[in-house]
C-alpha cells in the first residue's frame, strides 16, 4: 500500500501545468483567468492520488516567482497553503485562500508552483533548490501567461534565466511556436473554446536587450546561447510585434531553455490572444 500524490505537469511542455490555475478578483470561486497586476487573485491546484493508500491532511503549498525559465525555491515566495484528503484514485481541486497579488513590476506575468506534501509520499529532505517538476510528481509549475496583443502594440517582456547554486554552464534559449493547448489548459486561462491561430515567425524574437524600436521592427533571434555562472541570473527578452489576431484565437509561444546535458532546464509559455476591445 502506498500513496502517490500528483499534480500533473504540462504536456509536452511540463512548465505549462493544466492542474494549476488562477481566479482573478475577490471571489475565490469565480471564473479562471489571467491575473492582473496589483489586484487580488486566488490560486487553485488539481490534486490526485494515483496510489492505493488514502491520505488525510495532505498540504498543498503555492509559490510565485518572477517569470523565469528555471524556478528555484531561493527566488520564489510562498503564497499560502491548503489541505486536502485524497482517497485512492481520487481527484480534488484545492483552493489557496490567501489572496495572491501579482506585483506591478512584472505587470502580472508571474510563475506559480504548487506542490503537495504528505508523509505517505514524501518529497526529499532537504528539499532541493530547484523545484524540478519533471523529477517529482508532487510538484508542478504554471509558467503560463496570457498576453493580449493588438495591431498597434509591441511588447518586450523580460524573462529570467537562473542557474541553481553551485551549478552553471552553457545554456541555450530558443522559441518553440508549434503545438496547441488542450481544453483543460485553455479553460484554466479563461480561454475556453479559443482556437489556434497562425503566426508569422517574424513577429516574435528573443534578445538580450529589452525595449521596443521606434520603427516597429522586431530585432532578435529565435535561438540564443549564454554561459551561466552558478547561482547567477540574467534576463532575456521576448519581443512581440504588432499583431492582428482574430477574436477568440490564440498562439502559444514557448521559451525553452536547455542546459549543457541537453535536458530541458525549463521554460515559460506566453499565450498570445487578441486584446479585448474597449
Amino acid at each position: 500500500m502506498s500513496a502517490q500524490l500528483v499534480i500533473r505537469d504540462g504536456e509536452p511542455h511540463w512548465w505549462a501545468s493544466q492542474d494549476i490555475w488562477v481566479v482573478p478578483g475577490d471571489d475565490p470561486a469565480g471564473a479562471p483567468g489571467a491575473p492582473i497586476a496589483g489586484e487580488s487573485a486566488y490560486l487553485w491546484a488539481r490534486t490526485r492520488n494515483d496510489g492505493d493508500q488514502a491520505v488525510t491532511g495532505a498540504r498543498v503549498d503555492w509559490y510565485w516567482s518572477n517569470p523565469a525559465t528555471g524556478v528555484l525555491r531561493s527566488n520564489s515566495q510562498l503564497v499560502g497553503s491548503g489541505f486536502v484528503d485524497l482517497a485512492p484514485g481520487e481527484v480534488k481541486e484545492v483552493l489557496c485562500l490567501v489572496p495572491w497579488v501579482p506585483v506591478l513590476v512584472n505587470d502580472g506575468h508571474e510563475c506559480v508552483v504548487a506542490e503537495i506534501h504528505h508523509a505517505a509520499d514524501p518529497l526529499p529532505n532537504p528539499l532541493p533548490d530547484a523545484f524540478q517538476p519533471p523529477a517529482f510528481h508532487q510538484v508542478a509549475q504554471r509558467n503560463l501567461t496570457v498576453l493580449e496583443v493588438a495591431p498597434k502594440k509591441m511588447m518586450a517582456l523580460p524573462v529570467q534565466l537562473g542557474a541553481p547554486q553551485r551549478i552553471g554552464g552553457a545554456v541555450e534559449v530558443f522559441l518553440d511556436l508549434d503545438g496547441e493547448l488542450d481544453e483543460e489548459t485553455l479553460a484554466g486561462l479563461g480561454l475556453r473554446g479559443f482556437q489556434r491561430a497562425a503566426l508569422d515567425p517574424g513577429h516574435v524574437a528573443l534578445s538580450w536587450r529589452g525595449g521596443c524600436r521606434a520603427d516597429g521592427e522586431i530585432v532578435g533571434e529565435h535561438r540564443l546561447e549564454a554561459k551561466m555562472e552558478p547561482g547567477v541570473s540574467r534576463s532575456v527578452h521576448l519581443h512581440v510585434g504588432a499583431l492582428d489576431l482574430p477574436r477568440r484565437t490564440y498562439v502559444p509561444v514557448h521559451i525553452v531553455s536547455r542546459g549543457r546535458d541537453e535536458r530541458l532546464a525549463g521554460g515559460i509559455t506566453y499565450v498570445l490572444t487578441a486584446a479585448e476591445e474597449a
Binding site: 470561486a29 488525510t56 499560502g80 497553503s81 489541505f83 484528503d85 484545492v94 490567501v98
Partner: protein
C-alpha cells in the same frame, strides 16, 4: 454526482483551548496564540448522510496556521448540526475578516466547499502603562482604565510576599472602564463604521476583558511567560469582594483553566450586559451628538461604571446592572458629550437547566451518558446549533474531565434538534489516568454544565441589525460568582452519579 448537502449556517467561532470557553461573540484574538476554529456543520437535506468527512481546507491569512484534521462521521442524520473544530496558531494573524474554507463530503457524493468568514482582533497591552488596545481594521479601542472587583484575598493561592506566588485566577467582575474608540480613518456624519461591519464597539471591550482574564488565568496556573499567551494580563482591581471556588487540589491542570475561565466569562459578561445589546453607548452617543457639517470625528471616549444591585452576574439569569456612562465625541472642531444613567438586564437567559444521569453507573459496563436540557425563557428549549455546551465531570478525588455535549442525533444523542444535548464518556478509558495519579474510580462523581449561545446573525443582515445578534453569552455555568462570602461553595453540581466498578 450530487453535491454533499452540508453547509455552515452560523459564523465559525473561537474556542480557547485552555479554558474550553467560547470567546465573546466568537471573535478570535491574536493575544491567545492557540484557538480552536469551531463551527456547526448542518446536513441540510432530508436524508441521513453516510460516512461523511469534514476538513478545513485553508485560511485566508498566512499568519493563521491550522493543524490538519479530518472529522469523520459514520452517519449524520437529516437536519442535524455537528460541531467540528480545528486547532490553529493565531500568533502572526492580522486583524480583520478572514476567509476560511471547509470541505464536506459524504459517500457517493461530490465535495461541498463552504467559505465562511471569521473575525480576528488584535489585543495588546502596554507593559509600562497597562493600557490595553484592541485593533480591528475599522479602528482601535484603547482601554486606559479597567477597574475590576477582584477575588477575596483568602481565595488567592498565596500572598504577595511569597516568591512562589502567582497571579490570581480571578474571577473579576467589571466595575468601570475608560475606553476610547479611534476610527480608522476618522469619519464625517453621525455614525462611524462598526468593527467588522457587524458587532457593536462594546464587543471589543468585552473581548479585552475576557482575553485579559484568560491570560491571567493561564499565567496563574502555568506561570508567567507561558507559551500560549502573547500579552500580559492585569487589571486595576478596585476591591476584593468576589467569592468563588478555586479548583480543588488534585485537579488536573486543564480543569483549573476551565473552572477559572468559566468563572471569568460569567463575570465579564457584565461588560456586554451593562453596555446593552440593542444599541451600545457608542451608537447611542453618536445619535445624541450629531457633529456639524464637514466635521471629522477623530475619537470617541466612553467612561462607564457598573454596579450590581442584586449581586454578581449569574449565567443565564436575568440579573440587573446599573450603569452610568458618558460618551464624548472629539471631532477636528470641538467635543460633544452625552451621559446616561440606567439599568440594563441580561437578555441571554435560560429558564432552567436539567441534567439526566443514572443514579448508579457501572464503570466498565458502558459509557456514562449525560443528557441535558436548557430551557428558553418563555418556553421551549435551546436546540442543535443554538448552543456551544460541555460538561465537566469531577471524580471523587477531584480529577476533572471535559465531556462535549451535542444535540446532533449521533451516538448517545437520540435525536437531532430535540433540545437534548448529550455527551458520553467511557470511564474504562479514563481509568488509567486515575490509576496513574493514584486516584479512585469508585465513588460519587459530580456533573457541572457550561453552555454559551452561538451568534445567529446572517451575512445578509445590515451591520446595525447584525450587531444586535451577539453570541458567546453564558447560558449555563457550573460556577456561580458571588459577593457574599457566607454563601456555600458556588461550584454547583447539576447532578451526581455513584460510580461502581
Amino acid at each position: 454526482m450530487a453535491q454533499t448537502p452540508m453547509t455552515i449556517e452560523r459564523r465559525p467561532f473561537s474556542v480557547e483551548p485552555f479554558t474550553h470557553m467560547m470567546l465573546p461573540d466568537g471573535i478570535f484574538d491574536t493575544a491567545l496564540i492557540k484557538q480552536r476554529i469551531t463551527c456547526y456543520y448542518t446536513n441540510v437535506s432530508g436524508q441521513d448522510l453516510k460516512h461523511a468527512s469534514i476538513y478545513l481546507e485553508g485560511v485566508g491569512d498566512p499568519g493563521i496556521v491550522p493543524v490538519a484534521e479530518t472529522h469523520v462521521f459514520a452517519e449524520i442524520p437529516a437536519g442535524a448540526s455537528v460541531r467540528v473544530s480545528w486547532l490553529a496558531d493565531f500568533q502572526n494573524a492580522t486583524p480583520g475578516k478572514k476567509m476560511v474554507s471547509f470541505i464536506a463530503q459524504a459517500d457517493g457524493m461530490d465535495l461541498n466547499r463552504t467559505i465562511e468568514r471569521i473575525f480576528v482582533s488584535e489585543t495588546k497591552q502596554d507593559a509600562n502603562t497597562g493600557e490595553y488596545t484592541c485593533t480591528v481594521e475599522e479602528g482601535t479601542l484603547r482601554i486606559s482604565r479597567f477597574e475590576m472587583i477582584g477575588p477575596k484575598s483568602e481565595w488567592r493561592p498565596c500572598d504577595d510576599k511569597d516568591e512562589r506566588c502567582r497571579p490570581s485566577q480571578g474571577p473579576w467582575v467589571p466595575a468601570g472602564m475608560t475606553a476610547v474608540w479611534e476610527p480608522n480613518p476618522g469619519y464625517q456624519g453621525v455614525h462611524g463604521e462598526l468593527p467588522f461591519a457587524d458587532p457593536w464597539w462594546k464587543i471589543l471591550a468585552w473581548i479585552v476583558a475576557v482575553v485579559a482574564a484568560i491570560v491571567a488565568i493561564v499565567a496563574a496556573v502555568m506561570g508567567a511567560g507561558t507559551a500560549g499567551i502573547a500579552i500580559g494580563g492585569t487589571f486595576d482591581e478596585s476591591t476584593g469582594e468576589v467569592n468563588c471556588c478555586e479548583p480543588a487540589p488534585g485537579a488536573i491542570p486543564g480543569s483549573a483553566f476551565t473552572v477559572a475561565g468559566a468563572a471569568s466569562v460569567v463575570a465579564m459578561v457584565a461588560v456586554a450586559v451593562g453596555l446593552a445589546d440593542d444599541a451600545d453607548p457608542w451608537w447611542r452617543g453618536q445619535e445624541a451628538t450629531p457633529p456639524g457639517p464637514g466635521e471629522t470625528t477623530l475619537a470617541e471616549r466612553v467612561e462607564v461604571s457598573f454596579d450590581y444591585p442584586e449581586g454578581a452576574p449569574t449565567a443565564g439569569k436575568d440579573f440587573p446592572v446599573q450603569v452610568k456612562w458618558t460618551y464624548r465625541r472629539q471631532t477636528d472642531v470641538k467635543a460633544y458629550e452625552h451621559s446616561v444613567e440606567e439599568e440594563q438586564r441580561n437578555l441571554h437567559v435560560s429558564d432552567g437547566v436539567t441534567v439526566d444521569v443514572p443514579a448508579v453507573h457501572h464503570a466498565f459496563a458502558g459509557p456514562l451518558v449525560i443528557r441535558s436540557r436548557f430551557a428558553r425563557e418563555g418556553g421551549g428549549f435551546f436546540a442543535g446549533q443554538d448552543l456551544y455546551a460541555f460538561a465537566l465531570l469531577r471524580s471523587p478525588d477531584d480529577v476533572y474531565f471535559v465531556v462535549d455535549l451535542a444535540d446532533d442525533g449521533i451516538e448517545a444523542d437520540e435525536k437531532a434538534n430535540d433540545g437534548t444535548y448529550t455527551g458520553s464518556i467511557h470511564l474504562e478509558r479514563i481509568y488509567p489516568i486515575l490509576l496513574k495519579q493514584g486516584k479512585k474510580l469508585e465513588g460519587l462523581w459530580r456533573v457541572y454544565l457550561f453552555a454559551q449561545d452561538v451568534n445567529d446573525a446572517t451575512p445578509d443582515m445590515l451591520p446595525e441589525v447584525a450587531a444586535t445578534h451577539i453570541g458567546g453569552f453564558p447560558i449555563a455555568s457550573g460556577i456561580n460568582v458571588t459577593f457574599d462570602p457566607n454563601l456555600p461553595c458556588p461550584l454547583e453540581a447539576k447532578a451526581t452519579v455513584q460510580v461502581v466498578a
